[in-house]
């Protein structure tokens, strides 16, 4: 198993570092590359089983767009080949057509999916997210400056039942295209959602995977699902 974490020195905000730790603990024999901003991503030139990238600052977002832009068609090829990806938080925005920043204006993104993202730096948005995917309940939070607009129906990752989807008017959340999974929700995703993680890791490893301390994750998950169900208003300040 080869796992590549893209740019974790800047793209692991909001506790998403927990995803990388959990991957390492679940697959102790795996080779885990933590690619630096000064390096070219390995998955473009060699076989990598899973590519992970987490949330980042807005400056880092623009830097990473610049770094990945020359490889956008290669990235699409990897997606079409069925390569696994998990992209979380505002790393998702990089795969849309453009991002509109208040200070620098519109920046072209990788244009691999038909959506644009707009940021309002003084209107930070926070909410809980609960949704359904393959008969599993997913949970997490959103903490972001942005909303994304476009057509999410075709490649929706999951439908939100509480909270918001890619913007406050829709319930479609994230992107799933073959084995490319992307959500603006943070968690950390793998830690907060043991049923999804089991499903994902089994497919990734092509065998039944033993999740470390799964009983602890399940206790936290069940409590969170219960709490999210009881709460009246998912959006909070």
């Amino acid at each position: 198993m080869i796992i590549e974490c893209l740019f974790p020195s800047v793209a692991s905000l909001f506790g998403e570092h927990g995803n990388i730790t959990y991957l390492k603990q679940t697959f102790p024999q795996a080779t885990v590359y933590e690619t630096d901003l000064s390096e070219s991503p390995r998955f473009l030139s060699e076989k990598v089983d899973l590519v992970y990238m987490g949330p980042m600052s807005e400056r880092a977002q623009r830097k990473i767009i610049d770094l990945l832009m020359p490889y956008r068609l290669r990235i699409k090829e990897r997606m079409d080949e069925g390569n696994y990806f998990l992209i979380t938080g505002n790393a998702v925005d990089i795969f849309g057509t453009s991002i509109e920043y208040e200070d620098v204006g519109v920046v072209k993104a990788l244009d691999l999916f038909p959506f644009t993202t707009k940021l309002k730096m003084l209107a930070r948005f926070n909410c809980m997210v609960m949704g359904e995917f393959e008969h599993m309940t997913l949970v997490g939070h959103k903490t972001q400056f942005s909303m994304s607009y476009g057509d999410f129906k075709e490649h929706m990752f999951f439908k939100v039942s509480k909270g918001i989807g890619m913007n406050s008017s829709i319930m479609e959340e994230g992107i799933r295209y073959h084995n490319f999974f992307a959500t603006q929700m943070i968690g950390p995703m793998f830690v907060l959602n043991p049923h999804f993680t089991q499903w994902f890791f089994n497919r990734l490893a092509n065998q039944e995977v033993t999740l470390p301390y799964k009983e602890a994750l399940l206790l936290a998950y069940e409590q969170r699902v219960k709490d999210f169900t009881l709460v009246n208003e998912a959006i909070y300040e």
Partner: protein
């Protein structure tokens, strides 16, 4: 400056609100400011500030530094307007300045010390121009409010007045690089002989050179991004320190401070390196205003640290230590955990987590985002002398999962359903009980500390 009628209406209403709330023996430190802003949104613009105004901001330590500065003023019998009892956002600042002005908002106080929340700087600094602004440090903080450190740095760079002299933590490259055109004093602590570097922090908010974006070389790492850095590519390096702790003896609670070739010994108030940072920040303020190191030192001898930050109850040969570990703030918690892991002299330690789990009184309808515990170095608690980790409250299973991720054996973790059970579950062989609490639940923590002490008394008597 010509003041609009709405200002006079606002000041009258705010003062009335403050008078009435005080009569009702209520905390009148936020609401009057809220009243003033509702009537006159730019109220601060028309309120005269004290002749000398000191601001204190930063991620961690701003309350302690503000309180230390106030204590030094108090020891000199100098009256100072302040927001010690109020909030550090706009409303609290307004209320503090209401006390510092005459009925119609003209200057009354010569001195003012304001703790200023860095996130609120955009609403405060356009109107309030401190002579001096202390920046204790800058780390990532609450994701909900502060997002990430670049967001906060951008706000501070944009809004800190150009005329303000900065007193910045020189060991923190992010804080020390703020507002390039402003004059500044840097403070810090020199690397100590045999000082253990903490290179295993999860969070490092400064990886790349602010000049050329190449990876920085970390010459000395105290923790996270605090330390000494340089860039191999462009020659950029940490700023030299103007005021610094030359030698620090935490065990003897003494430190030698040096500035401009003059050195002086100080009593260290507290027992953590962060206490030394807080003190050197305060010392730098008074040096700026012309005091000598020896004058400050003699005043410091009379100070004691604010009780809500670190306190200890001794029961026979056991003790209860309360430590503030700010909720939603991974660096604050990591610092506390690092402190605990180094204190092997405490014997067998039990840690009670009450720093997040009792915050639900504020907003019972909010299920907290616990992502911050994955940025927190919980691994530091995986130590032989830490025998029990006791968690309760709404998010107890999240803590449990995180502790397991940190490699803490299941046998050391105790999960309880009720708050009172946390105390009952303390093992009789424990020597030191550490109670972690948040800024939101200080009264609960105080009650719990007493109950723990009572529990230990009964254990001792048995």
């Amino acid at each position: 400056m010509k003041r609009p009628i709405r200002f006079y209406v606002a000041i009258f209403m705010a003062r009335s609100a403050r008078f009435l709330l005080k009569k009702l023996k209520r905390n009148a430190t936020h609401f009057p400011g809220q009243v003033a802003r509702t009537i006159c949104f730019d109220f601060l613009k028309y309120l005269q500030q004290p002749t000398h105004l000191i601001g204190v901001t930063g991620t961690n330590g701003k309350t302690t530094v503000s309180n230390m500065i106030l204590d030094v003023f108090k020891a000199q019998r100098i009256e100072v307007a302040n927001n010690k009892l109020g909030s550090n956002i706009t409303e609290g600042v307004i209320t503090a300045l209401l006390d510092a002005t005459t009925f119609f908002g003209n200057r009354k106080s010569e001195w003012g010390v304001l703790e200023i929340d860095e996130r609120a700087s955009l609403r405060i600094f356009p109107y309030i121009k401190p002579d001096v602004l202390v920046v204790t440090n800058l780390f990532r903080d609450s994701y909900k409010r502060n997002a990430h450190i670049e967001f906060i740095v951008d706000l501070l760079n944009k809004y800190i007045p150009e005329t303000t002299h900065l007193i910045v933590n020189g060991d923190d490259l992010i804080a020390s690089m703020l507002c390039a055109p402003n004059s500044r004093t840097t403070f810090g602590i020199l690397p100590q002989e045999n000082e253990l570097q903490v290179r295993d922090s999860i969070i490092n908010d400064l990886v790349y050179c602010p000049n050329c974006e190449n990876r920085l070389t970390r010459d000395f790492v105290r923790y996270h991004h605090v330390g000494i850095h340089h860039c191999e590519s462009c020659g950029f390096k940490s700023l030299p320190l103007d005021v610094y702790v030359k030698t620090l003896d935490v065990a003897l609670r003494r430190m030698v401070v040096e500035s401009k070739g003059v050195s002086c010994e100080f009593r260290l108030v507290g027992s953590n390196i962060t206490d030394a940072y807080n003190m050197i920040a305060m010392i730098s303020v008074f040096l700026h205003y012309g005091k000598t190191l020896s004058e400050i030192s003699s005043i410091v001898d009379t100070l004691s640290i604010v009780e809500s930050r670190f306190d200890e109850i001794v029961v026979g040969n056991k003790r209860v230590i309360g430590l503030l570990a700010k909720d939603q703030n991974p660096v604050a918690n990591s610092r506390v955990f690092d402190f605990i892991r180094r204190e092997t002299s405490w014997g067998k330690v039990a840690i009670l987590f009450a720093n997040e789990v009792y915050a639900h009184v504020d907003n019972p309808d909010e299920v907290e985002n616990m992502a911050w515990i994955y940025d927190t170095d919980m691994e530091y608690l995986n130590q032989e002398h830490v025998s029990q980790l006791i968690v309760g409250g709404h998010r107890r299973y999240d803590f449990y999962a995180r502790m397991r991720m940190a490699g803490i054996p299941k046998s050391k973790i105790v999960i309880v359903d009720k708050e009172e059970d946390e105390i009952r579950m303390i093992d009789s062989s424990i020597d030191t009980v550490v109670l972690l609490y948040s800024t939101k639940n200080i009264p609960i923590a105080n009650r719990m500390k007493k109950e723990i002490a009572k529990h230990l008394v009964s254990e001792v008597n048995v």
